[in-house]
């Protein structure tokens, strides 16, 4: 977790949020989230009917893993805003890294409001998620 007395605008943090994403993890996410779209778990349907090269992860799984990096960084229950755009698909076998850059810091009497710009990239440096977040620490 960051130390609010030791941060400045432009500070960058990064974490590998998944290494070699497994199909089983995608199935776990489908099962718990209730999004059973076969595009995420059903290879036969996805390749033969929908025309994709393979199943791919739910955007919300990538957002969830990006959120894990954020809560590791800003602490539990401190997020005020968290928003993303899904810019590219995430495939089984991908390794994803989230980078968070501090874009502004607002010091109040008893807390600090920190804004971040976020990007999660795959192993080929292609952004799969971009976004922003605000934490009150």
């Amino acid at each position: 977790m960051i130390n609010i007395n030791d941060i400045k605008v432009g500070d960058t943090f990064e974490e590998v949020i998944v290494d070699n994403l497994t199909r089983t993890q995608i199935v776990q996410y489908a099962g718990v989230s209730g999004d059973y779209n076969p595009l995420h778990t059903d290879e036969i349907f996805t390749t033969q009917v929908a025309g994709y090269p393979s199943v791919f992860a739910h955007g919300m799984l990538t957002m969830g893993m990006t959120g894990k990096m954020l809560t590791n960084l800003v602490g539990d229950d401190n997020l005020k805003n968290f928003g993303v755009r899904f810019t590219s698909q995430v495939w089984p076998g991908d390794t994803l890294t989230t980078k968070a850059v501090i874009t502004s810091i607002e010091k109040n009497s008893d807390n600090v409001l920190v804004n971040f710009e976020l990007v999660t990239e795959n192993q080929n440096n292609i952004p799969v998620v971009t976004g922003s977040a605000t934490a009150l620490i």
Partner: protein, 164 residues
Amino acid sequence: MSKKSMPIEKGHIMMFARSIGDENPIYSDEEYARDKLGGIIAPPTFIQSAAQFNPDNPLRPKIGEPWFGSGKAPTGIKKSENKSESSASTNMLHAEQHFEYHQSLKPGDVLTPEVIEGEKWEKESKRAGLLKFSESITKYFNQNNELVITARSVGVVTEKVVEN
């Protein structure tokens, strides 16, 4: 989403945290969580699993109804029936998701969603053809009628299959 309440349960939170690969004990260890924050809380994107409690969730198989994923054949829906539904389901992708957190989400809470239809717009893209965007805003209220989370979701229907 219709007005169906969502009970927040600690087993569901634990499984959700596992699915995103998050071992933070704040999502599963009651003693640890009690000392730290007064109790277990849900991860920031947990509310997405409200889909489990939506009786109309089109992405959950329903008993006795054909399902568009594969059984013996690549799709459970025959070509003659319901072609539009099948193609809409396969072309609808999630474009954006935004959350605003008003208070922490805890086991024992019971949330009720209030959905507001947002804007619709179109955009031409080289990669995917004509893109049709639609926005929906869901406000989740707890059992005390307090706003807990505001979620804004943007979906997109693409003309062509999108690959990297």
